[in-house]
Assembly symmetry: C2
Homo-oligomer: 346 residues x 2
DNA sequence: GGTTAGCACTCAGGTCCCAAGAGTGCTAAG
DNA sequence: CTTAGCACTCTTGGGACCTGAGTGCTAACC
């Protein structure tokens, strides 16, 4: 497909998309030649446009209107036409500014990243917290709340706190619980939650475990505490930004998008998918396969520490989005967050 | 004001408001007499309507249209006309159903309450978590994350977990931190956070504290850990419900409302104000003094345990809201949540 | 042969006007 | 005091009309 596009076709497609990105109006041949110094007449541009339309890169909403990029058009633009410029030092500083003077708790950092993304891009910022199973276990504490009700509190090495309520038949004393917590923290600290789980399973399988009452209880409790995965946490910030986009004057479309924000599961799934890839990943329109966010694009990048990928962050907005600006912002933010998280672990 | 309204005036005002609540259209004299068996002619109703308009209970959007209730009209309706019916046993069961088979963590319970409120009322559910300072301290733990960075984790008696990062100059060992945590948990458990704070301040003022190294450190750490109030946590559930209301076909109004949802601070302030009152509290339109939620009403009730009020929950929707249905739902939910929280503390 | 000017055609959107319908206020009779 | 009647107002929806932007096609041009 792409190879039948000659230099002129590409230039014109690029011009159409860039005009459309700023104006949100169908781009006509005449207006375009006026705005871009292509030294081509409108008639010629029209011919090229007809070709582009045939190839599926653009479409006209009705017979006598200008052209609008299709998803395929955006995809080609993003893959082949766009050159992502680097951020200037000032722009970088502007982003970094959002992370100054803040408490350094991981949750806060991630939420702040979401807010910063939305504020800088003027779209909605998304940040998915690290997968619980992949985080490194640091500390566990069992606290007796009342007869039979025990609260398990885990802390990961990065300082993320999770807790779970356990109902337990035989009442364990404060001292016993403390002993159990200490034992688990001592023996399992430094492993990932996933490894901890595996360890527990293998220990429980061994006969010897049954002879040691404390160990037995510790295993039972910790297994229960880690039994179900907490849903992947996601921060969605700046949802109202997106309301200023002309494409959401249509109330119905807006409703669907906000429903997706409220449910979160679709976005979690998308960000999870994006986590596999290196660098900036872009979903355009129906590529996401969720009709609720139809007409929207997602620009994402994974963040990581020295041990590997932790989570994903990004921006969601209408497909008519200034990718040339958003991509480096997301990219730089992911690097920055990675760096800050790494620094915390020193 | 109210006393110049005779029985007939009240009946008609009630009919107007109830019609308007279901139709969202200005109510005319003719249509109204058809719908309500008042045995009055439209002309008479018109006369009464003119009086009601003069008194400020209703208003007509333009000269030749029906009447719409004013805020004053709603206020009078809620205060004097409306008789809140009790929920039937089935309705109660329907509400209770939302709380079955769920984990019993306090946060989860509160969030669930918000979801239930929104699902049952078809508006947006709000739940403000208990004020941190008023909750009862149960356990504190200091975990050393890295050189100079300590994570303080508190647990309240009801099982609410909070954490805070502390930067500390002199490096404390794992054993020291454990000792300090144990000491604080032992001596301060059972007090409210507020009392804990006061206690720390008074202890630090006493000379003797300076001689005991451990105590000194414990106080210093705990003071820092409790130094700043975490913002009041609020759960806002079912925001998209509200989009189906015809009053939010106006995109601009919707934007403002969602901005209020995103910022949360206005809602927190309102719910906080409502916490003082007993029973169901209602804010109609500009009574809330926030223009972002203009045209909206808030129906709230405080929930509590045996020791006193904990927080507030409620529903927000357009002022054109079936109060007769929403009020008992909010009321019953508050009772139910109170009961469930009390049961947990046993 | 690619490029361009010219031309006829299409369509959305704004404006104007009109008719219908719902509602009002006023007046006079019951 | 209540109500029937009437003239009047105002919104809403539809239709007619115009304008402007844009298109596709054809024929001339370089």
């Amino acid at each position: 497909m792409a190879e039948d596009l000659n230099e002129r076709g590409r230039k014109i497609l690029e011009a159409i998309i860039e005009d459309y990105i700023v104006s949100a109006e169908p781009v006509g041949s005449r207006a375009m030649t006026r705005r871009h110094p292509l030294s081509l007449s409108p008639a010629t541009v029209r011919n090229v446009m007809a070709d582009l339309e045939e190839m599926g890169y653009i479409i006209s909403p009705h017979t006598s209107s200008g052209r609008v990029p299709t998803e395929k058009g955006y995809r080609f633009y993003v893959d082949s036409l766009l050159q992502t410029r680097h951020l200037s030092r000032e722009e970088q500083l502007q982003i970094e500014q959002h992370y100054r003077l803040k408490s350094l708790r991981v949750e806060d950092l991630l939420q702040e990243a979401g807010k910063a993304l939305s504020a800088i891009s003027n779209y909605t910022g998304l940040v998915m917290a690290p997968r619980f199973t992949a985080t490194i276990f640091r500390h566990i504490e069992f606290i007796r709340l009342s007869q039979g009700r025990i609260l398990a509190v885990f802390v990961t090495r990065s300082g993320l706190v999770q807790n779970k309520l356990i109902e337990h038949d035989n009442d364990l004393s404060h001292a016993e619980l403390e002993q159990i917590g200490n034992y688990l923290t001592r023996t399992l600290g430094g492993l990932t939650i996933q490894q901890v789980r595996a360890h527990i399973v293998s220990e429980m399988g061994q006969e010897k475990a049954l002879y040691d009452k404390l160990l037995q209880r510790a295993l039972r409790l910790s297994q229960e505490a880690l039994s179900d995965e907490p849903g992947n946490q996601i921060f969605i910030e700046g949802t109202t930004n997106i309301l200023d986009q002309p494409e959401f004057a249509d109330v119905d479309r807006m409703k669907r998008l906000f429903r997706a924000f409220e449910q979160k599961s679709q976005l979690v799934e998308l960000l999870d998918r994006a986590q596999q890839a290196r660098g900036v990943q872009i979903f355009i329109g129906s590529e996401s396969e969720y009709s609720d966010i139809e007409g929207c694009s997602l620009v994402t990048a994974a963040y990581s520490n020295r041990r590997g990928t932790l989570g994903t962050l990004g921006v969601i907005g209408p497909s008519r989005m200034p990718y040339a600006m958003v991509i480096p912002i997301v990219d730089y933010t992911a690097r920055l967050v990675s760096q800050l998280l790494d620094a915390e672990e020193n």
